[in-house]
């Protein structure tokens, strides 16, 4: 059975960086389809199509073997801990996972709080950092616009991804600690990679080659 090979591409910030990098390569996305609302986009290589997915959903599609390969931020990978192969650090989409608080609030101020509240969409990474630091905190789960939480009193600080720091600055926030670093990773479905390396490895090499040519 000669099925179309699917690659899961991220929507959002990482996707905005990725799509131009693939222009003019064998994995360039069909521009007409890209402008439509279609989520399965043909590439310049027959038999290979891209799925456009939210970062938080993407690892599931790859882990289940629906897509053979995917590109996703290491922050999402670490948070979800899915059974995936991680074939390469692609280097782009670099950002920091940081503890951010209102300007003037230091890490020591936060440490001194008897009841620290942190808002985040990265509870696992935050818990690991708290454990390393010997701190306890109440975690407030948020999925977007975390910058509002300290300003409106929902939390004392946030743990969020920071790329340039522009959004933080616009909301009067500063980084008080860096918990980790993130970048785009090429992931593969374990089953597809180990049972059909003759199909999947050339596709991975094609993707790496396309990104390298545009680096």
């Amino acid at each position: 059975m000669n099925q179309t090979l699917l690659i899961a591409f991220p929507k959002g910030r990482l996707g905005d960086e990725l799509v131009p990098k693939l222009a003019g390569t064998p994995l360039a996305l069909d521009t007409a389809a890209l402008k439509s609302r279609v989520l399965r986009i043909p590439t310049a290589t027959p038999g290979v199509a891209a799925l456009l997915l939210k970062g938080a959903d993407l690892p599931r599609y790859v882990a289940a073997g629906v897509a053979s390969l995917g590109i996703v931020g290491s922050d999402t990978l670490d948070e979800m801990d899915m059974d995936l192969l991680e074939l390469a650090d692609l280097g782009f989409g670099a950002c920091r996972l940081s503890l951010c608080a209102k300007t003037g609030v230091t890490l020591e101020d936060l440490r001194a709080k008897p009841h620290l509240r942190l808002a985040t969409k990265f509870p696992k990474a935050t818990e690991a950092w708290l454990s390393r630091e010997g701190l306890t905190a109440e975690l407030v789960p948020l999925s977007s616009s975390a910058e509002l939480a300290p300003l409106l009193g929902l939390a004392d600080a946030i743990v969020d991804l920071v790329q340039t720091g522009g959004t933080l600055k616009a909301h009067g926030l500063v980084e008080t600690a860096v918990l980790g670093r993130s970048s785009a990773r090429l992931v593969a479905a374990r089953g597809a990679y180990l049972s059909e390396p003759g199909r999947i490895r050339p596709l991975a090499d094609m993707l790496l080659g396309a990104l390298k040519a545009k680096a």
């Binding site: 882990a63 995936l84 192969l85 991680e86 650090d89 180990l194 059909e196």
Partner: protein
């Protein structure tokens, strides 16, 4: 009202018949090779292992059989002063699923080869590989891939560097992801970082058959692992000439799945396009000594539930039953 209930599979006519047919054929194969069946109790009354399905029987906490190997080992260690050398089993295990879509009840057929400590084990390892090689033909899989690995390729360098606990777990997790960059990240600043990173690169460099073994030459632990390499080389030389048509043999140096359990050679059976391994096994020489018996053991298990799922979703991978 719960919206997620544990998934115990119901089998309709075709699947039920297929399960019985495969179970019978596999147990027949094992019996032909001198493996005698044992049937350990479905209910465990010993310490309840992590991942088991637990429940109360009156005031007593008990669990369903979650793994045949562990249940068999307990039974054998209690019942025999010297081990029966070849045992087989068939039935269901009940394991807490990692993913919500996985079944709790899983059907398995498997076998175990047991020897007194110190006896040469290479012949037993090859015997298990040969039986596993016969299984795709027996159940009608059109083509399959057998991966040969060796848990010692990772275990021994980690032990030689004195790497245990969380750091060793992080290295193993990175290798499981086949991510050498993660190995480097995990070992950042550790005295053995350069050596172990180079070793990881060597283990992850190829997945292309017999030539893969030569990748070990570039590892800083090449001499430490000479015995494992020659063991794998001998196994390949024995198995390649008798490889059935439609079965491919691959060497997978970076196989770390079950590293806490396996101590030596490992075997994994795949079908092209399958998302999960269909059979798995290997050498686990620490199991019986932990139960107070100086025995060494190796075995494999055929995951019939996964095969049933594969037959339902990818019938093109199977021959029509005769």
């Amino acid at each position: 009202m719960p919206v997620r209930t544990p998934h115990f599979p119901d089998l309709l006519f075709g699947s039920a018949a297929r399960l019985r047919r495969w179970e019978g054929a596999l147990m027949g194969l094992l019996a032909d090779h001198g493996y005698r069946e044992l049937h350990p109790s479905l209910v465990l009354r010993e310490a309840v292992p992590e991942g088991a399905l637990r429940f109360f029987d009156g005031d007593e906490l008990v669990a369903l059989r979650w793994d045949f190997t562990v249940a068999l080992a307990g039974l054998l260690a209690r019942s025999f002063p010297t081990p029966p050398d070849r045992v087989a089993y068939a039935g269901a295990v009940f394991r807490r699923p990692v993913q919500p879509w996985e079944a709790v009840e899983r059907f398995e057929v498997g076998c175990e080869r047991i020897q007194p400590e110190g006896e040469p084990a290479a012949e037993a390892d090859v015997e298990l590989a040969r039986m596993l090689m016969a299984i795709p033909g027996l159940i009608g899989l059109k083509s399959a891939i057998l991966h040969l690995g060796n848990a010692a390729l990772v275990r021994r360098p980690l032990e030689a560097e004195g790497l245990f606990g969380e750091l060793a777990d992080a290295v193993v997790a990175a290798l499981s992801r086949r991510a050498p960059h993660r190995v480097r990240e995990a070992l950042d600043g550790h005295p053995s970082a350069a050596r172990l990173s180079a070793h990881a690169e060597a283990l992850l460099s190829e997945l292309d058959g017999p030539g893969t073994l030569s990748a070990l030459e570039s590892s800083p632990y090449a001499s430490l692992l000479e015995e494992e390499r020659s063991h794998m080389d001998r196994a390949l030389k024995t198995l390649l000439p008798i490889l059935p048509p439609n079965l491919e043999l691959r060497v997978d140096l970076a196989d770390v799945a079950g590293l806490g359990f396996y101590t030596g050679p490992t075997l994994r059976l795949w079908a092209p396009g399958a998302q999960q391994e269909l059979a798995a096994g290997g050498r686990y020489d620490r199991l019986f000594p932990d139960l107070g018996r100086p025995w060494q053991a190796a075995g494999f298990c055929v995951r019939l539930s996964r095969l049933l799922d594969l037959a339902a979703t990818r019938p093109d991978l199977f021959e029509e039953p005769r």
